[in-house]
């Protein structure tokens, strides 16, 4: 591999300028360059994050006080459904895919992704998918309103938007599967000499495992929603008891996809945090191999715990108990990861630039989500927690100060590398504090609401829930508007500022190949493969 790359170089050295980016808009349409595609993914993700966030603010506005003030309950349900679909498939997944595209070739010493044309296609499917999903808002009967889980029979009451929702999922699924194939192929075949699997940076490892999860579960989801489609339009009865089907079968299929899916949203975060903490603690990652094994264990366990989302559907007691035990087990490898991060910080020489602040907040607040997750694994107790604001608090703790914080940490960490300019550290810290305080004001009171008896997905509530809902709404608006600052900081860094060094962070060149390339790196990353000791 490396030998042929070298001869290729010798022959074409003087043609290299021809391979630079094309000019104008068509550069982005035709591009097969991993950095261009990575950038496209991340810009898309940021746009979807703002749209999904605006929908969250509609929800929080209506929930600010008891009584129905602003929207119709049906529209409220459309907002909760679209908010979730957009945040999961539009904001978080493309952001991780973008970072993978940008960083994986650089981190393993490759010139580009293994399958560049496939890469172009997997990105360019997304805008069509999202436009189709957004267009459902304007259709007869409105956007889908049955929740992102799309449970039948309710979802079969969706109006004209129903098939468009299903096709959106098909398109996004194809895109994800192709991206996953590309990442696995790249990592298995394009590593620089000396870069053995057990030397891969953790971000690459977590993405490889994520990619396997994607390939395994996306087809299941696509199949399940196709069965919904035929139930509605072609007279099948997969999920209709009157025709010999079972509505709960859909839930099993959905969560067989859905549980690995939530780990798809968190495993790459683990990778990013495992890159950042060693850099700013100026110490190697503690327990590298146990981190790899823990991630793989979490990936494997994710396939065998799905029905813990369905403790209330009346499974046989054996199923109830099995899923309880299997789910509790996940706490073990997750705990190992947290302890390893703490040991990495321990007796380090830490500095607290914005990426490190977000990474530490991630460890602390993700752990909070882990605790509530452990509580909910206890099935008898979950009969109380299930479908209340307690679960809303739980999954927002793992997804917002979890996944989203990891993405922000990663953005600040690699932004100087991507743009060649340092971001404004003072503004970055301001963004961190605004975000961290407001995220807790938003989601912490929701634990109390759930325990006190407030169900989720309701547009209006009894008056005893008023205080904490008001808190939560205030927090949400501060959180939402703080993200405008994030966008401003990114734009400012793209446009210029203090030049970044190759290493960017003090001593970072010991922590990964990306810090050995110039900032910004050349259009084709590693023309000559580096040799990894």
């Amino acid at each position: 591999m490396s030998a042929s790359a070298a001869t290729h170089d010798d022959h074409h050295d003087d043609h290299h300028d021809d391979h630079g980016p094309a000019k104008g808009f068509m550069r982005w349409v035709y591009t097969t360059n991993h950095k261009d595609i990575g950038t496209l993914y991340m810009i898309t993700s940021l746009i979807m994050f703002m749209i999904g966030g605006a929908m969250a603010l509609v929800i929080r506005l209506e929930l600010f006080e008891p009584g129905m003030q602003y929207v119709d309950p049906g529209f409220f349900n459309q907002m909760t459904t679209l908010h979730a679909l957009i945040m999961v498939f539009g904001a978080v997944m493309p952001a991780f895919a973008g970072m993978a595209n940008w960083m994986i070739p650089i981190m393993i010493g490759a010139p580009d992704m293994a399958l560049p044309r496939l890469n172009n296609w997997s990105f360019w499917l997304l805008p069509f998918g999202f436009v189709m999903l957004a267009s459902t808002l304007f259709m007869e009967g409105g956007a889908p309103a049955a929740g992102w889980t799309l449970y039948p029979p309710l979802v079969l009451q969706t109006g004209d938007s129903f098939p468009f929702t299903i096709f959106t999922i098909h398109i996004l699924g194809i895109s994800s599967i192709m991206a996953a194939i590309n990442i696995i192929t790249t990592v298995l075949n394009m590593r620089a000499p000396g870069m053995t699997m057990m030397k891969l940076p953790l971000f690459v490892w977590t993405w490889v495992i994520t990619a396997f999860l994607l390939i395994a579960v996306m087809p299941v989801f696509a199949g399940a929603v196709t069965m919904l489609l035929t139930d509605k339009y072609f007279g099948t009865s997969f999920f209709n008891a009157a025709g010999g089907g079972d509505p709960v079968l859909y839930q099993h299929l959905f969560w067989f996809f859905g549980h690995p899916e939530v780990y798809i949203l968190i495993l790459p975060s683990f990778g990013i945090i495992s890159q950042i903490i060693p850099t700013f603690a100026r110490k190697p990652l503690f327990g590298y191999s146990s981190m790899v094994y823990a991630t793989a264990s979490i990936g494997l366990l994710s396939f065998v715990v799905w029905a813990h989302h369905q403790y209330t559907v009346g499974m046989p007691i054996a199923g109830e108990l099995y899923f309880t035990y299997a789910t509790m087990l996940i706490a073990v490898p997750t705990g190992v990861k947290v302890f390893n991060w703490i040991s990495t910080m321990w007796r380090g020489s830490m500095t607290f630039e914005t990426p490190m602040l977000f990474a530490i907040a991630f460890v602390m607040l993700f752990t909070m989500g882990g605790f509530t997750g452990l509580m909910m694994s206890i099935s008898p107790a979950d009969l109380q927690y299930h479908d209340t604001y307690f679960i809303v608090a739980h999954f927002h703790y793992v997804l917002v100060p979890g996944s989203v914080f990891a993405l922000m940490a990663g953005t600040y960490y690699w932004l100087p590398k991507w743009t060649g300019y340092m971001y404004d550290e003072r503004l970055g810290k301001l963004h961190f504090w605004l975000t961290t305080i407001s995220v807790n004001v938003t989601f912490f009171p929701q634990h109390f609401l759930g325990l006190a008896g407030m169900p989720r997905r309701i547009p209006d509530y009894a008056v005893q829930f008023a205080e904490f809902n008001a808190w939560s709404s205030v927090g949400a608006f501060v959180f939402g508007f703080s993200q405008l600052l994030f966008i401003y900081i990114i734009i400012k860094a793209v446009r210029g500022g203090q030049k970044a060094t190759d290493e960017v962070w003090e001593g970072a060149s010991e922590h990964g190949l990306e810090w050995q390339l110039p900032s910004p790196p050349p259009y084709h990353s590693w023309i000559t493969a580096p040799f990894v000791k």
């Binding site: 009967g141 309710l154 327990g287 752990t367 509530y461």
Partner: protein, 373 residues
Amino acid sequence: MRKLRLWLAGLGLAFLWGQAEADYTLNLTEGVTELSRDVHDLHMVIFWICVAIGVLVYGLIIYSIANHRKSKGAIAADFHENTKLEIVWTVIPFLILIGMAIPATRVMIKIYDTSGADMTIKVTGYQWKWRYEYLDEGLDFFSTLDADSNRARQTGSGIRPASVDNYLLNVDKPLVLPTHKKIRFVFTGADVLHSWWVPALGWKKDTIPGFITEAWANIEQEGTFRGQCTELCGRDHGFMPIVVVAKPESEYRAWIAEQKSAGAAAKADATREFSMDELMARGKTTYESNCAACHQATGEGIPGMVPAISNSPVATGPIAQHLDVVLNGKGAMMPAFRETLSPVELAAVVTYQRNALGNGMADMIQPSAIKSN
């Protein structure tokens, strides 16, 4: 001095806590059944385990942040693995989990044991009301959001929720149950999934169309216990509360007898001739609690989503077709009211829709002319 300050801080916290308790609660209810207490105990045990682990984890992180920082001259150590440590923090959490799994299993087995019940209640979830059937008594009725809450919850109603008694947690007809009896519940759904949850009983159970799920409760205390539907079931998911009233056996028996004679009287009443005024009055209340949420109190509907009743071809066309739409529903949004409304209510609401809301058909239909269930 230090001790004094601690005491003061503690008092302050206690005061705040007391304040908070006045309006809202922070924690899970202990409930009024053996099961709900067991679940509450499990919840508290796992909560305190999490608190203990949290103190350890957050303590280590905060200590490290405070001391191992470059600005304090800390020099990075070089250690990066320790197999013994890895084994320790794999095995200890595993043992804690086994310690949790044992009581959890015991409680779950108890929750699943519906044998030896004294009576059975069948609960059916409808969009958006509950149907309660006392299988041993032959008693059968629907329970819907009460009229006050329903008026106040319409978008832009201008009624302050705080002025409504038990806003959104009150129904027209509560489920009355005896105390100190093992009550078996069987659940099913009529249209979509719902979930029946009264926190004081300690569990919730999904109602699934075409399937039966089970649960049980033995209520140890008299009182009124409130809950809600917890599975998204469409537009009015937030507006189908549950109210359980627990009474001693003797009062419960008296209530059953009263319901049975009232039911017989209503059935007999339905066969007589109703006047226009009677139907219109009855129709107005039926309209407000069953139709107004979507078609609006004015009958104008929601443009693009819900058709109007005012001057609509249905409400101003042949009465038989009008009745057919109400009985059997239409499309994905309009539910069938064949089962959920009585013949009197059906006749009244059809008559009302044809002679109010801007319509003036001047015709009517008698309850005796309706052959529903």
